[in-house]
Symmetry: C2
């Protein structure tokens, strides 16, 4: 089953919803013209579809293996990553000064979506490398930057994030990893780290581990963590990989999905100490790590959009060819393709609506990051940064939760065939299941949304977004088209429900922390439901005004209605959970 | 991770919600005294926990294999099935006349739940055998009954259902299997059947296949199907397995889950024709098959309850031991077991509430079947039969859909560990995913609920159930306890929402068949949400009146509230989907 990137929808979202023109008007993003953006997307679509997607199912079946500290990756991955690097994809959004192309995140986002849709396991390697690049750009010393950024951005070396330890997953305060100054400016790291994605592999010349550890005398908890760069091979004077460092992969996990991405247990310092270099300031490791994690959280949200699209494409293709049962309306005496049956239409419609809504939400979030990065006016930068920070946990949480539902519906559309591994639908269901867990579970995202993103500013960003939704409602009110009228009520009810939930959280978080945090995930799902629905309403309005591609825009208008009916109608119920959280008991 | 059957909750549901005393008062069920029921459940719990549950995870890892027409099943299955048969479990609810114990379905249901919770793959074998027994009891000739029922009920032989063919899954009208009279009263069957659960195995002396096929000259479509019994080994004069019949397993599937239950492709008649015997009348094969399918559909709904319980037990145990992060309310400066964190409590609470609500719904449905079977008054039998028929698609559809959600939450509670196969939580997520597909997808159940169960009687049964819910509301109104008051509003809103949906379906199904069938699954989920919630309201009332086991009853009261908050509040949103189904577009 081929993957065909939905370039038309991606460009529609970029232009009409995320404001590509405004992003391209920002200093430094002048290259992101409509023509360039389209050309980049078409090249990315070609690469993802022709090179990476065909490896996906074979790699699931034969994901490679660990042997004696080495990891053999799945067939074709090495050559595909070489092509990815050679074409410059790893550096597309990174600074020109280090060999990147400096394109905005809004252009990088669809390319990342495509790579993930083609092959979630493969795409994790560049995803983690991007995280390491972000951390070094944010906090690395000039020397570390000059030594490591060029090969990472060129895609010759790859990066990892080493946070988790057996006793410390969501709770980084429990980390035990140790770092000691070696006297020469470097450090010796001793740690056992688990769940390290691409912690070991045979795809690149070198692996750059970013490791959280504690210096001697550092405080306990998260305020005593420092970040270290630990290369697998220590670069020589010329910057080429030299001696092997004291870091080793002792095993890889047997996982439900994303099987072809090796998940390593890494042992640092068994032979005296791995050589590491401090990134940023002592005891401020989390600052740099949060830069990395925020980039990674957004990227994982995009993974959700990606796997939803892939699952939808496969299910739609199957439904178009599988013939079964007569139409329920009596319009034919013959069995028809199942795509004509109402419940299959519902499932495909919901899959499509969730995927397109998630895409719109994610790309708009990417545009906010571009403005936050490059807007000339500091106040504008701060405004966009605040909105971006509010949206990241929602993109991460909501887009990944919906992706599991979409992948599950994808199996259901296939009926019994969906349960057979060879069909391929089951792989998406298995692969998607990690997305609500890694880079912070949905609960971690939801606590972030409640604590740092809603309470800290007194709900200012949340209310600002709701004011924008009201403007969209006002536009819908001016339209006579029935589709606009049908969108209006669910959107208004959704926005009002979100408003009630925001007010409730603000009023009661201090007095009832357990209740409010117990409602944090429903609160996040409510926010995602409404904000993604808002983007679908904007898409509907844009499509009403764009008659030049009737098939595309009619489909978008119908998809927006489907979203309104199946999702925005659920917003009051989610708000009810939040509003009842203090009064109602829970029995674990 | 051991499985400990929730015998206390099962007995509570049997006694207080499903009316075991009334069932035991029916003619023929006098043995089902409270003491007997408890003793039976405790023996079943012992067997499931000690013998069957330990085989579950090893069998997933090494599920056996096909070789040259033979299927080697997973380690331990053969001995476990022998013990199951020897203890008489296969026959517990079957007629004494054929060696069974004649216990009511209400007593058999918890035992089936336990077996499935212990090991879904293993339990499928007795489940299918029950189906074959039901079909023979309903439609088999005296000769077929006398020859086949005793060894099936004794558990020495097993049964299968052979419906699906490559081109005919949900749509039985497309079946191509052929049967020709042999002139001696037997028939020769030629067919390729796929997805045959336990179609071949090494667990029993003989396998009794029940096969849908067409006689020469039979009409096309489902009115031309006849049912045939095709034994793997033809019984000799003494009834012992004799010559090998012309039926062979040509392969088994590589599935997402329930890996240790062989899913066979069966070839009938490659060497001239498999010997088969007509069950019931010519061209009336579906009548007997529906008896079998209805029993199997209810049993699959119970599988959903079972896997939800198992997933909950594992997640709860992990949450009690995994220490991570300080409490959000500041009550401790140390990290605490994650069961104390609000979102983990929410997830476990929802898992528990869904499982207990599903159990109550399923057992009450079983009790209706007992009354339908054994009530002396024909009008009473008919009344219970109608309610039972209404509830079966809901038990099948709702309990299985919720089981996927519960299994997914079970992974989420484990965090990253949930994604590692060795943990075991992932198996439930994989296993559960078949339940909404086999024995009729959720859409098939929903179409049945709309068509045969709601429209055909003009909503009479549905409205009767809603009148009963109103009585429960009236009881809640008389109670001063805050828990009762908190239950009341969500239950009333849910019942009103269901009422609106029933009225809408009745009013518009004829005029808008596509829209109504496109809303059939949300309609089923709404009905399940409200009817299961009603049982939780009844459980709450019963617990308020039962102070003798405070821990159990306080937990039940809290669980009922959790259900009300997290599920009954969603009923209006589900109804909104039904009510908008005509106006809103869907884009597949």
């Amino acid at each position: 089953m081929p993957y065909v990137a939905p370039v038309k929808d991606m460009l529609f979202v970029m232009h009409r919803l995320a404001g590509l023109a405004q992003v391209a008007a920002l200093p430094g993003f002048e290259d992101a013209s409509p023509d360039t953006a389209q050309a980049v997307l078409e090249q990315a679509a070609q690469f993802a579809g022709a090179v990476v997607a065909p490896l996906n199912q074979p790699a699931d079946r034969d994901p490679g293996a660990w042997h004696d500290g080495h990891v053999r990756t799945a067939a074709g991955f090495r050559e595909a990553l070489r092509q990815y690097a050679d074409a410059g994809w790893q550096g597309m959004s990174h600074p020109v000064a280090y060999g990147g192309q400096g394109l905005p995140g809004l252009v990088a986002a669809p390319c990342a979506e495509m790579l993930n849709a083609a092959n979630l396991s493969f795409a994790l390697c560049p995803l983690l490398t991007n995280g390491a690049i972000e951390a070094l750009l944010a906090a690395g010393s000039p020397e570390l930057r000059s030594r490591y950024l060029e090969p990472l951005i060129a895609g010759r070396w790859t990066g990892t994030m080493n946070l988790t330890e057996p006793q410390a997953g969501s709770d980084l305060a429990l980390l035990r990893a140790r770092a000691e100054p070696a006297g020469d400016g470097s450090y010796r790291i001793r740690a056992t780290k688990i769940f390290i994605t691409y912690g070991e592999h045979d795809l690149a010349e070198n692996i750059v581990h970013l490791v959280l550890a504690r210096l001697p005398g550092a405080p306990g908890g998260i305020r005593g963590l420092s970040l270290f760069l630990v290369p697998k091979f220590l670069p020589d004077a010329a910057g080429a990989p030299g001696p092997r460092n004291d870091v080793h992969c002792v095993s890889i996990e047997h996982k439900l999905g994303i099987k072809a991405s090796p998940t390593a247990t890494m042992q640092f310092g068994d032979a005296g100490g791995a050589v590491g270099y401090l990134v940023g300031q002592e005891n401020h490791g989390l600052d740099a790590m949060f830069v990395m994690m925020n980039a990674a959280r957004f990227a994982v949200g995009l993974q959700g959009v990606a796997i939803a699209e892939r699952a939808y494409q496969r299910a739609r293709a199957y439904a178009a060819e599988r013939v079964q049962s007569r139409p329920v309306d009596g319009s034919s005496r013959q069995a028809v393709p199942i795509v004509e049956h109402p419940d299959v239409r519902r499932m495909l419609g919901v899959m499509r609506a969730l995927g397109e809504a998630g895409r719109a939400l994610a790309y708009c979030t990417a545009a906010h990051a571009d403005h936050a990065h490059a807007a000339p006016d500091p106040a504008e930068r701060a405004r966009h940064q605040a909105i971006h920070a509010f949206l990241v946990p929602i993109v991460k949480g909501w887009c990944t939760e919906m992706s599991i539902e979409v992948a599950s519906l994808g199996i259901q559309v296939h009926g019994g065939m969906g349960y057979i591994e060879e069909t391929g639908a089951a792989q998406y269901y298995r692969d998607a299941r990690i997305l609500t867990i890694y880079e912070g579970t949905t609960a971690i995202q939801a606590n972030d949304l409640v604590g740092r993103k809603t309470l800290r500013d007194g709900g200012a960003v949340a209310r600002g977004l709701m004011a924008e939704i009201r403007q969209t409602e006002a536009l819908l009110e001016t339209r006579a088209e029935p589709a606009a009228q049908r969108m209006l009520d669910p959107l208004r009810q959704g926005r009002e429900a979100l408003g009630e939930a925001v007010d409730f959280v603000l009023a009661h978080a201090a007095g009832h922390p357990n209740a409010i945090h117990g409602a944090a995930v429903p609160y996040l799902m409510l926010a995602g439901t409404v904000l993604a629905g808002w983007q679908m309403a904007r898409a509907l309005l844009a499509s009403l005004d764009t008659p030049e591609d009737p098939a595309f825009h009619q489909a978008k208008i119908a998809t927006a209605q489907c979203y309104a009916l199946h999702r925005l109608t659920q917003a009051p119920g989610l708000a009810a959970v939040v509003l009842g959280s203090i009064d109602y008991a829970v029995q674990p």
